[in-house]
């Protein structure tokens, strides 16, 4: 296309969008587009062609139809807190923000469901349900800001997902549109949709298959009591054995988190949560439920930790103490951010039994790459967040951090794990996908994408690498970067 023809095409689609949307629902000026040029992974930046900010599902549909007719890519966006570049714009694409669809349509306390629009914040669902003694269980660390639509796109988890599940376990139905604007309704309050389980396929599909305009979620009764045990161990191995011991005891803790020595020291210096500085690893195990259940479970967790040689042990005796013990873990990322100019957060999941071996491997790699690495670990579900220290101003440091990160993800896959536990693929882990999946699987992903979006217009290029890219990936190139939204907790 000549430059003139391209500019004519652009003005045609912009006028079509302007005609379909309220005046304040279309942004086209460079200074208006700037806030949308990246998500939480801020090293990738690209302003979109335009930003559409519809107020209603009908306007969402209109945007999709117009873009489809003009063969223009659409990138759906929630709150923009994602960590993998999943909503990175393209210069030729319309960014479709769902942030203004933020109505809580209804809450049914007897049926324990909430029907909400995608722009509703995760935490707002629990806030609105609190009067009924109910809450929405998945609690990603960014829950004060992230939206339920984004949670659906990423299949978000949270600290409590071992016991209460991920987004996929807590969403009952969605309404939305296919890329061409065709309305689609999947699931609802009745369990198990008929036919293939399309609802499960939508969860974590990173905006490639559907644009969601309404979500029905399950609400759970809020536990009456929660208490946390903090146990310190001489070594990571001993802490890992205690984790296996707790699960082996038949306990599913509401939360089960581990930090290694470097992370613990960084945190203790920062928030003074009362963690022992000489420990090789710290374990936090939370129990929730009725008073009787919690008292029983906490006693059993304590016994297991003692049996596995805990060098010190503390049990929260009040809500203030519980929050203080958690404060350290929740501050792990910013605490690490205080002792290194930059850090690169990895997100692999491994079978828990290989934790010691993988951490030893990470220590070896740390030495080889000449970069320090602190480890925080969702110990209950095997999700490991190595935080690689580097200094972006030091020549070669970024490349070394990337190479180190790649080696860590390889180690996770070699241990029988996966390249991303909760942050998603986005653009960040396209290359890592080539490590985890073979060509026939990647081809199947592309075919499924085409089944929903034959024209390939919905968030194209994200989440699944082309076979060509994988074939050419002689030197895998992983990208790190500073996180945007430093004010949000990240754990």
């Amino acid at each position: 296309m000549s430059q003139l023809a391209a500019s004519q095409a652009t003005s045609r689609i912009l006028s079509a969008l302007a005609a379909a949307l309220p005046a304040d629902a279309l942004l086209t000026e460079p200074e208006q587009l700037a806030p949308y040029e990246c998500d939480g992974l801020s090293m990738y930046r690209q302003p979109p062609l335009a930003v559409a900010l519809p107020y209603t599902a009908e306007q969402v549909q209109a945007v999709l139809r117009i873009c489809h007719a003009h063969h223009t890519p659409v990138i759906p966006r929630g709150a923009g807190t994602g960590l993998a570049g999943g909503v990175l714009p393209r210069a030729d694409a319309v960014l479709l923000s769902l942030a203004r669809l933020k109505r809580i349509v209804r809450i049914d306390p007897l049926a324990r469901v909430a029907v909400v629009e995608p722009g509703v914040r995760n935490a707002a669902i629990s806030e609105a349900s609190a009067a009924h003694g109910l809450y929405y269980a998945p609690d990603p660390s960014s829950q004060i800001a992230c939206s339920i639509g984004g949670n659906v796109a990423e299949n978000s988890g949270g600290v409590h997902c071992l016991k209460y599940g991920l987004t996929v376990h807590n969403v009952l139905g969605i309404k939305g549109f296919l890329a061409d604007g065709t309305p689609l309704s999947i699931g609802g309050e009745a369990p198990d949709d008929s036919g293939l389980d399309l609802l499960a396929l939508m969860m974590g599909s990173e905006g490639l298959l559907v644009v969601v305009t309404e979500v029905t979620v399950r609400l759970l009764p809020r536990p009456r009591v929660a208490q946390v045990v903090m146990a310190a161990f001489a070594t990571v191995e001993a802490a890992g054995d205690a984790v296996a011991g707790i699960i082996g005891e038949g306990i599913i803790p509401a939360g089960l988190e581990m930090m290694d020595a470097l992370a613990t020291r960084a945190v203790e210096d920062f928030v003074h949560a009362g963690y022992p500085l000489d420990a090789g690893a710290i374990l936090l195990a939370e129990s929730d439920g009725t008073a009787e259940e919690v008292a029983d479970e906490i006693a059993r967790i304590e016994a297991v930790c003692r049996r596995h040689g805990a060098v010190s042990l503390a049990v929260s005796q009040s809500e203030v103490e519980r929050l203080k013990l958690w404060a350290g873990r929740k501050a792990a990322f910013p605490a690490v951010g205080r002792i290194t100019p930059d850090y690169y957060c990895m997100d692999g999941t491994i079978p828990k039994k290989h934790l010691s071996a993988v951490l030893r491997r990470i220590a070896e790699l740390s030495e080889r790459h000449g970069l320090a690495c602190a480890n925080v670990f969702h110990a209950g579900d095997g999700n490991l967040h190595p935080l690689i220290f580097f200094d972006a101003n030091q020549p070669g440091d970024v490349e070394r951090a990337e190479a180190f990160g790649l080696d860590i993800l390889r180690a996770c896959v070699e241990a029988g794990g996966v390249i991303t536990g909760e942050h998603g693929v986005g653009v960040e882990k396209l290359d890592a996908m080539c490590v985890q999946f073979a060509a026939p699987e990647l081809a199947t992903f592309h075919a499924v994408k085409a089944a929903f979006d034959p024209a390939g217009l919905l968030n194209p290029g994200k989440a699944v690498p082309t076979l060509h890219r994988c074939a050419e990936m002689g030197a895998m190139h992983m990208h790190g970067g500073k996180l945007l939204h430093p004010e949000l907790p990240r754990f």
Binding site: P191, G195, K353, K429
Partner: protein
């Protein structure tokens, strides 16, 4: 690197170009190789295969077509470490064998599948059928973590993994639950497990269905250790499961009569297949002798009792309704749809596919997904919406 073994194809056309003879070169053991060869041969000859495990669901929800292809050669637990709460098991493994191994380690499948004689793990996943615990501990797909399967080209695909948290790639393994083998032959699956409760108590409270439906929903909105809530034979049945301390503390507030443990276990196991209360008792092996067709309706949990429409049991804390009715299928479907749910023909009405008809949009998506996994129409569609079946076979 997996990609190097597949060759630098560089284009997505590699897959469709491979054709029925182009089975994946990925490592298959002899039992898997037999299945892959059978799929490739069927694809080449345009034959339809009917996947069969223990045949325990024969006749259930539809009639099978095509040549049987047995998965019973795929047997055994591949990996089980109780501390991981994860088991990986081959699809032809008898469900009873897996359950026995889990019980020996104090664990269980969360979704409480029906334990009909001969049932296999693959069949439990493919049918997507879950028992009374489903309302509290999740469905079959909720417990699935990953799967290896052979698609309709005979190529082996691995989706998901053996870990709890995994957001790499579309969750195509979960799509296998309830797909009745339409998308491929399951080779092995990984499940997330739960510890068996320290203590279980079942309470029986005589009351009418509508009152029971209200009561079970109200109880589920309070933090009680519930693991079952069903109504049949004129009584609400509640199962409390959890720590001894938690269950003991919850019991006094509920009331009712305690059911003796063996009877309680038999009751809930029975519910996983079909709750009692229907006369004559339905024999799983003799569906043709049923006098009245049986239906399984999925509805919002607070839906009123459908007693006037033939409801004889309520399970899943109100979300599942069992109906015995000789009303025309279209009426039963309309009833379910009007309530915001759907109806599965269970027994005694085999002239039609089991599943509730799909709306046109989802129907089109089904056709395309069938073509993605099974472009040559190898796998039997007897249980799906007739329109989807027709289109899928017509597409080849």
């Amino acid at each position: 690197m997996p990609v190097s073994s597949a060759g630098p194809t560089g284009t997505l056309d590699a897959q469709s170009g491979a054709g029925p003879a182009g089975a994946s070169t990925a490592v298959l053991d002899p039992a898997e190789r037999i299945l892959a060869d059978a799929i490739c041969a069927a694809a080449a000859d345009q034959r339809v295969l009917h996947l069969r495990g223990g045949d325990s669901k024969r006749g259930l929800g539809g009639t099978a077509h095509g040549e049987p292809l047995s998965t019973l050669g795929l047997r055994g637990i591949v990996d089980y470490d109780p501390a991981e709460l994860v088991v990986t098991v081959r699809a032809g493994t008898p469900l009873a064998d897996l359950q026995a191994e889990l019980v020996a380690h104090g664990q269980m499948l969360p979704f409480e599948p029906p334990d009909w004689p001969g049932a296999t793990v693959g069949g439990a996943v493919a049918s997507g059928l879950a028992g009374p615990r489903r309302a509290f501990a999740g469905s079959v797909r909720d417990a699935l973590l990953g799967a290896r399967l052979l698609d309709g080209r005979g190529q082996v695909l691995r989706f998901g993994g053996r870990v709890m948290k995994n957001v790499a790639g579309f969750d195509l393994f979960r799509l296998q639950a309830g797909a009745w083998g339409r998308l491929g032959v399951l080779l092995e699956v990984s499940f997330r497990l739960l510890p068996r409760p320290q203590r279980e108590e079942t309470l029986r409270l005589p009351m009418a269905a509508n009152e029971a439906i209200q009561r079970m929903n109200r109880l589920a909105a309070t933090p009680l250790p519930l693991g079952g809530a069903a109504w049949c034979e004129g009584a609400l049945h509640l199962r409390l499961c959890g720590s001894a301390a938690g269950v003991d503390a919850a019991l006094p507030g509920i009331g009712g009569q305690t059911v003796e443990p063996a009877a309680a276990a038999a009751f809930w196991a029975g519910c996983a297949g079909m709750p009692p209360g229907h006369r004559p008792a339905a024999d799983m092996r003799g569906p043709d002798q049923l006098e009245v067709p049986l239906w399984r309706l999925s509805v919002p949990s607070t839906t009123r009792s459908l007693g006037a429409e033939g409801e004889f049991a309520v399970d899943w804390c109100g979300g599942l309704r069992w109906l015995a009715t000789d009303a025309p299928p279209s009426e039963v479907r309309s009833l379910a749809a009007s309530l915001g749910g759907h109806a599965m023909a269970w027994r005694g009405n085999l002239a039609q596919p089991a599943m509730h008809p799909l709306d046109p949009v989802r129907l089109a998506l089904h056709r395309r997904l069938f073509d993605v996994f099974d472009p040559h129409g190898v796998f039997d569609s007897g249980r799906f919406d007739a329109a989807a079946v027709q289109a899928a076979s017509g597409a080849t």
